[in-house]
Amino acid sequence: MTLKGKRTVRSLEKGRARWGWAFVAPGILFFSIFSFYPILNAFYTSFFNKKLLSLKPPKFIGFQNYERVLSSPDFWNSVRATAVFAAGAFVPLFLLSLLFAVLIVSRKRFQRTAQMALYSPAVLSSAVAALIWLLIFDPRGLANQFVNLVANTPGIDHKWLADATMVQLSTILVYVWKYVGYFTILFVTGIGKIPQSVNEAAVIDGAGPVQRFFRITLPLLRPTTVLVSVMILIQCLKTFSTQYLFTQRGAPLGPINVLTLNIYNTALRDQNLGRASVMSVILFLCMLLLSWIQIRFSRSEEAEL
């Protein structure tokens, strides 16, 4: 009796496992063709000296490619540009979206309106956003007019797209503008999942709103905060269109030459596929590493209820 029962259970499990594979199969197929193969291809190419248009078989140069890239000031400039952008966008995005989420949730009405208003920029396509902001950042545009009005400095050109520091600020500004609403919604959802019982207990215990926020809401929000921070970081490291569209319209390349833009230019403008692949691999590995670190870091501080 026992033997028969065991067999049935196991075959049931095996059958189920097979169904699991069946449901997952389309995903595996898709990602293998359209994601894994290309990145492996890039990884492979990074060891060769491959020029884009050359018909001759590329020369294998192994790690020399990596040496060349890691010792080139242009690469490190891109690392700097990417890091500055990611750090500069991460902090405002995270803090502002959290702040807005908390404020929204604390209100009785107009929660939806506020979220929709904040999210509207994210709905636009990046080409559209770039067009609009290029006009705003024009020396005669709204940006100068607004700042000059507020700071009472008429006629000063703040060189939003010309000055090295300002252009980095401009790209960060556009990016934060575009995505703050999106992460606000994620936070609102996350806060909404916190069981009301905990908060009610705290209120009964006499905890004030600020105390409640830091002691209860924030720790219980951890899964969402981890998710949001990983997402923000990855999105920031992948940024491309804003910098691309700005440089196409005359902005200086150096200050905002983020890695993705550098990869793109190296592959298509300089036709150096080998070098572009090296940078791609490095970027990819960095993103993996940073995400892993973030998740690890958060797991070691699990909130205890």
Binding site: K51, L52, L53, S54, L55, F137, D138, P139, R140, N144, N148, P154, G155, I156, D157, K159, W160, L161, A162, D163, A164, Q248, G250, A251, P252, L253, G254, N265, L268, R269, D270, Q271, L273
Partner: protein, 433 residues
């Protein structure tokens, strides 16, 4: 009898041009061929070329032509990607310095003289102005046919000059020093923000329009040995300093971040007095602002020279050449060359309808060319100019130039520092070739 015969002959002679024949290509007879053309968008050129294609396919049924256009800012990437995947089109055109890698990598096919109706390379070269074919010659073979060759001169808005108290016919700037002086008189600002400019450069085309400024003073981008980069420090420093003085940290006369001068000039809204552009701009002006075009309140002046220039160097000219994919089937290549030969034989229509200049001797002598206002200014400058620098890494060098000049102009970098970095960068680029 005789009368009927002569009438018939007359009729035939008159009728012949009406049926201006696209060539019937014997090699294509009875065969089915499909070719693809990728070219950059041009609202005037597309219908013209499509018309020729129709005539050609009527004369050669069995030939199918796909005519595809792309934005000019994107076409280089798209053609490059296509070729990288071994899926390039049969025919394409890019600017010469973007096309050069295609030649050096063996991706394009040599001209088929028979298909275009000439006997030899010498024959072909004889049709064009001197030096127009040599840029696409490699190893004794010709790899492209010129679609257009363009040089830029300075368009000038007479109204704005007069408004600034200048006489356009006397005070038009002949030297770069004049340009700065005149711009200072014309410029209008709101605080620091410029609302009206005198002259402004054609950013970011440094290879085309700024390198000549250096060459006028005896400097060079690349030495004749092809290895040494950025020769003639004094010349380079003078031009770099000029940009610094011109820009927002100097006299604040212009900057790459304002709307491009050439886009504003035609509108005649008192925003920019001078802009660098080619003969084709006249057609655009005519279309966009016919009142302004007809009013003759504008003129074209030659590219300025330094007061103490060592030699006269006008704006470099650049060219688009039609090229054929070396990986296309032989029949497709033949059809492509035959079609190209036919299309490009209509130089005058290209000029009058699209305002692009094919550098053929016939065109330069034609009434159409001579009838375009100020064409003599363009022709004179072109005769003294040379092709913009082309090589395996021209776009990269252009990018380095942009960085150098804009760092001096916008970021306050010292010209000597920018020059040293530029030299390092360009030398590295040349070495990697």
């Amino acid at each position: 009898m005789k009368r009927i015969a002569s009438i018939a002959l007359l009729a035939a002679l008159v009728a012949a041009p009406l049926f201006a024949q696209a060539p019937v290509v014997p090699e294509l007879k009875g065969k089915n061929v499909e070719i693809t053309i990728w070219t950059h968008e041009d609202a005037n050129r597309a219908p013209l070329e499509k018309g020729y294609i129709e005539q050609f396919t009527a004369a050669n049924p069995g030939v199918k032509v796909n005519y595809v256009t792309y934005p000019s800012s994107k076409i280089r990437e798209i053609v490059t990607t296509g070729f990288a995947a071994n899926q390039g089109p049969t025919v394409f055109n890019l600017e010469l310095f973007d096309e050069y890698p295609f030649i050096t990598n063996g991706r394009v096919a040599p001209v088929d003289y028979k298909m275009i109706g000439v006997k030899s390379q010498k024959d072909l070269e004889a049709k064009y102005l001197p030096g127009m074919i040599s840029p696409v010659v490699d190893g004794g073979k010709v790899y492209g046919l010129p679609l257009e060759l363009t040089n830029w001169c300075v368009y000038l808005n007479k109204k704005i000059f007069r408004d600034a108290g200048l006489d356009p016919d006397k005070d038009w700037p002949k030297t770069w020093e004049d340009v700065m002086a005149v711009s200072e008189k014309i410029v209008q600002r709101n605080g620091q923000i410029i609302t009206r400019r005198g002259f402004d450069f054609r950013y970011p085309y440094y290879l085309t329009s700024v390198v000549p400024m250096v060459e006028q003073l005896g400097g060079e981008l690349v030495a004749k040995d092809g290895k040494k980069a950025i020769v003639g420090d004094a010349a380079w420093l003078k031009v770099l300093s000029y940009f610094r003085d011109f820009g927002p940290n100097g006299k604040n006369l212009g900057s790459p971040t304002y709307t491009a001068a050439r886009n504003l000039f035609d509108l005649d809204k008192n925003e920019v007095a001078m802009s660098l552009s080619g003969l084709y701009q006249e057609a655009r002006m005519k279309g966009k602002n016919p009142a302004f075009y007809e009013s003759k309140d504008w003129m074209v002046i030659p590219y300025p020279q330094w007061k103490d220039a060592k030699k006269k160097v006008p704006n470099n000219y650049y060219g688009h050449y039609y090229m054929v994919n070396a990986q296309s089937a032989k029949l497709e290549q033949q059809a492509a060359w035959a079609l190209l030969g036919y299309m490009l034989s209509h130089g005058e229509e290209y000029l009058s309808k699209v305002a692009v200049v094919q550098p053929t001797k016939a065109l330069m002598d034609s009434a159409t060319f001579k009838g375009m206002p100020y064409s003599d200014v363009f022709a004179k400058d072109m005769a003294a100019a040379h092709m913009v620098y082309y090589g395996a890494s021209s776009s990269k060098i252009d990018a380095s130039l942009k960085e150098a000049f804009e760092s001096v102009m916008l970021a306050g970098v010292e010209p000597q520092k920018a020059l040293d970095k530029l030299r390092k960068d360009v030398t590295a680029i040349l070495e990697e070739e």
